[in-house]
């Protein structure tokens, strides 16, 4: 395998990781919230897309919005249940509640979608492209472009607009922000739904690369954690860089060692970083 194809492989993988992590990073940086059901929302994004294409015969590009709307509706319900905990900034309970939601969603998805592995039929997955000897699919291109666009949008909205200022104000101090007339509960709702939709989108576009199971959410979320902790809590641009970096690391590691251990190797890397630099790659 040559260097160019490793690079392309790694970038495609890494863009997928970054796409999976962007929702979490926004949730953390903008609202200081955590969501351990993120992986299950990713899984639901993938499965609803699969369901809409196979059962309703919708084209892939129409099935994606269906999945996003379905997950957004679910996210509204979840966040409304958690409003009191989020306003109290009760992180311990939020971690546990979202973990419980995730498990519940996995059980529910198992009942609805069954226990067999499924494949999402995406037209982009069938487009074989090549560049300088590296072979990749149209799906890889979609993933890379979407990741860059989403990070740019999140960076712009959070950093440069009034909405972003409101969100950051609520993250700083929800009670004080309310004194200024900002509806903190609504801001949390918007941020949580955005984050959930990002997860679902990642599921709809990343998952066609391999067969999906209702249990994938549990394992996929680990990559998100690695990205978030390595980048430093809530470091948006760091998330993109670390996501891409992890993808390259996985691609290179996979050519010399059994690929099954690549996440474990990345985790060992994380432990070393935590000892040397507990705040992650964040400058502050």
């Amino acid at each position: 395998m040559n260097v160019v194809s490793q690079l392309v492989n790694g970038l495609a993988l890494g863009a997928g990781y970054a796409l999976l992590a962007v929702g979490w990073t926004v949730l953390l940086s903008a609202a200081r919230l955590v969501n351990f059901a993120h992986g299950q929302l990713y899984m639901l994004g993938a499965f609803v897309t699969w369901f809409a294409t196979t059962r309703f015969g919708l084209p892939y590009l129409v099935a994606i919005p269906v999945a996003l709307v379905a997950v957004a509706a679910l996210a509204v319900v979840l966040q409304l249940l958690m409003t009191r905990l989020t306003l109290d900034q009760n992180i311990v309970s939020l971690m546990l509640v979202t973990l419980a939601f995730g498990y519940l969603l996995q059980g529910g998805a198992g009942l609805i979608f069954g226990g067999d592995p499924q494949i999402i039929d995406s037209p982009f997955q069938r487009q074989d492209l090549s560049l300088g000897g590296a072979r990749f699919t149209g799906q890889d291109v979609v993933i890379i472009v979407l990741a860059l666009v989403l990070y740019a949008v999140a960076f712009y909205v959070l950093g440069r607009t009034n909405v972003g200022r409101m969100v950051r104000g609520v993250a700083e101090d929800p009670k004080l922000a309310q004194l200024y007339g900002i509806d903190a509960g609504r801001v949390y709702l918007v941020v949580f739904v955005f984050s959930a939709v990002c997860a679902a989108l990642a599921g709809a576009v990343v998952a066609p690369r391999s067969p999906i199971l209702t249990s994938i959410g549990f394992e996929e979320v680990i990559i998100t954690f690695l990205v978030v902790v390595l980048a430093g809590i809530g470091n948006l641009i760091g998330g993109l860089v670390v996501g891409m970096g992890l993808g390259l690391f996985t691609a290179v590691f996979g050519t010399y060692f059994p690929p099954a251990y690549s996440t474990a190797a990345a985790f060992v890397l994380l432990l070393v970083v935590l000892v040397v630099r507990p705040q992650g790659l964040k400058a502050r």
Partner: protein, 342 residues
Amino acid sequence: MTTADLGTPVDAPPSAAGNRRGLPGAARALGWLVLVVLAYLLPTLLGGSDRIFATVVLIAIFAMMSYGVDIVLSYLGEVSLGHTLFWAAGAYTTALVTVNAGWSPLPALLASVAVTTVLALLLGLATLRTREFVFSLVTYAAAIIGLTVVQNTGALGGSDGIVGVPVFELPAVDGTYVARTNAELWPIALVFLVLVVLLVARFRRSRLGTTALMAQMNGDLATAMGVDVRRTRVLVFVLSAPVTALAGWLYAYQRSYVSPDLLSPTFLLFMLTAVILPGRRLLLGPLVGAALLTSQQQLASLGGDADKIVLGGVLAAALLLSPDGLIGIWRAAVQRVRGNRR
């Protein structure tokens, strides 16, 4: 620290606490003894079928497993999502040394405890300087990566696990005590359960236990009083791991095989729910929680996916509706009844 939120302090209503303290020590010890004897007789009183014995043995094992999480969650106020790693490490170490090297149960227990302590120490030290929920993220990642490593490592049996853990045998006065059935395993499970409860009771009164509680309630105050919060955190974490490993050790014998499912979220959710459902910081809380959850899964199972919904739903409902758990509901009810009487 984000741990100032773990519900109300343990304080029972003053009258109840007063009553309990009013009992002389001897009477209290007698009360506990009666409780243990009743627990021992319980499966026989319930008909003594193998299903009943299997259920009570599993309750004891899962309660011990949950006590490890309880020590960290209730007293330190940290959420460890990595205790399934210790649970699996205890079981896998036992399976490895008994199947491959023919060790007997007690040396296998020592090996399990040693391996788990090293693992906990490594994880505890690596997360020493992390703040907030990074500890939870890292412990969670450790458990899930443990799962992929175990599934892909031939020496650990891969996704099939290790089968053929021998029958539990202990040297006894007249030769050996052999536990072939759940009924014969029950006394062993009960003895270890009592030991674990005694350990947790001792921990609650120990200097480490009170320091942990202080660090949880007010980390700054604890630091001002000269407590090394980080050291306390690592010590409590390292103490909790062998408790869960002990349960894993016994589970390997009960099931006679080990497999990667030990690292599945099922056990993680079970441990957390068993601690939180009855109410945190109760000595017998994890036992009550484990008994409720195990009874549902063993005697009234609705199937794998539906049981997931039950377990996740119970945990979410407890946290959203009554963060103090069942005991919180009970206390509120008692208070209301008293208020009505006045």
